[in-house]
């Protein structure tokens, strides 16, 4: 379970200063366009094990595309992405294996509506990791309890609130025991009163030392949980810093303009 894996590394800000062996993801000169529209122009980014990185930026700045490139939901045009020492585009990289290491949670939850909660969570462990049904169910129940939905295992997604569905989606991604979790505006589609529960779940995850890349507009979450915040605009990372610094003392004029609008 995630806990066993993560308990070894208690979250610590000092982690960032340790050796390069701790690099989880390294993106170098990544470029990506959709037709004529260049979405990522030159992305260079390193994410360390256990780090929580928040990605900020106006809509259309390339935030979602950036994280979707990491599990190859989008294919990059140029540059390279190294995950735990392996180029994700190299020949010996099995894409399905890559995706089991990279959990992803979507804005629209994307739960499978025809399956019960428990089956949503166990589908991939059973079919991809070939875990036995009993073990998968057991682990799924533990995860569901962890996200506060232990009693909902037998429900269908439509019987749950948006916040509950999103927490099931998090549990579903965690069931693969990923090394890194990507969150793509996971609270944007939720009613305000449901946001908190999802953020709490994410905070728990961060506390356990999960490596997380979080695209969000939740400044409170960024301030409290993020180790580092990057600000993107028009396909570039224009600024990066610790959250406190970036929010209180933004250097780039575009960051300043964005921060002043949302705070």
């Amino acid at each position: 379970m995630i806990k066993n894996n993560l308990v070894k590394r208690q979250k610590s800000k000092k982690l960032e200063n340790t050796s390069n062996g701790n690099v989880m993801i390294k993106m170098t000169h990544v470029k990506k366009s959709f037709g004529d529209l260049v979405v990522l122009k030159d992305i260079n980014l390193e994410i360390k094990k256990g780090e929580v990185l928040v990605v900020l930026g106006p809509s259309g700045s390339g935030k979602s595309t950036l994280i979707r490139c990491i599990n190859r939901l989008e294919k990059i045009d140029e540059g390279e992405i190294i995950l735990e020492g392996t180029n994700i585009y190299s020949q010996d990289m099995d894409i399905h294996k890559l995706r089991t290491k990279v959990g992803m949670v979507f804005q629209q939850f994307n739960l499978f509506p025809h399956m019960r909660v428990i089956d949503n969570v166990t589908l991939s462990p059973i079919k991809v990791k070939k875990v036995s049904i009993d073990t998968a169910k057991q682990e799924a129940m533990e995860l569901l309890k962890k996200v506060g939905l232990g009693d909902k295992y037998n429900s269908y997604p439509h019987e749950l609130s948006g916040g509950q569905q999103q927490r099931v989606a998090i549990a579903r991604a965690l069931a693969m025991n990923p090394d890194v979790m990507l969150f793509d505006e996971v609270t944007s589609a939720l009613d305000p009163e449901l946001v908190k529960g999802v953020l709490e779940t994410m905070k728990e995850l961060a506390k356990m030392g999960m490596t997380m890349i979080v695209v969000t507009h939740e400044m409170g979450f960024a301030k409290e949980v993020a180790d580092r915040v990057i600000f993107m605009d028009e396909g570039y990372i224009v600024e990066e810093n610790e959250p406190k610094e970036l929010f209180e003392n933004p250097q780039n004029p575009r960051t300043q303009a964005f921060i002043s609008k949302i705070l």
Partner: protein, 221 residues
Amino acid sequence: MVGLGFQFDLFVRILPELLRGASITIQLTAFSVAIGTLIGLFMGMARISRYKIFHIPSTLYVEVIRGTPLLVQIMIVYYGLPSLGLNLNQFTSGILALSINSGAYIAEIFKAGIKSIKKGQTEASMSLGLNYMQTMRYVILPQATRNILPALGNEFIALLKDSSLVSVIAISELLRRGMIVYSRTYDAWTPLLGVGLIYLCITIPLSRAVNYIEKRWEIHD
């Protein structure tokens, strides 16, 4: 006897014969629907494939079959194939023609059904490490099948009615039995009305069943 309208006593007398025809009709339809669905499933998936090797032949198949009359297809299979050295009996020819024909329509139904599932479902499934076939099997097709059930049911009903066309290659299905009675009694009205009535007795419960299943399987987003 001629021109007296629907004669109930004649109808009762020929009913066993017509019912034997109906049984053949149902068998023809059942086999053809099963094979046609299988063809349609794969052709439908091939239709939306981004690989030309799948996309082009499946598109050609659908266009050709939908663009030519079923009657012509039946005759080509029955009268044409023997010249290629392939001799099939009437029943097999009928099933082959009907399967190939319905496969094209069902392919379009599957295509629409698969496309009706939001992209996020595929992305979520892929992001969990499932491959294309697993994603289709466990995530997309179960949802797509529910969405297309009414269309599929209508196609089944249409095929049941269209199967009357194989009477031209002398398969003793429902319509042909009616025609035989007509040529024997010179009364067209009673046997043909009887044939229509029996078709209705099959299609109405069938469409009710489709409605019922559709309601029961309704999924929520």
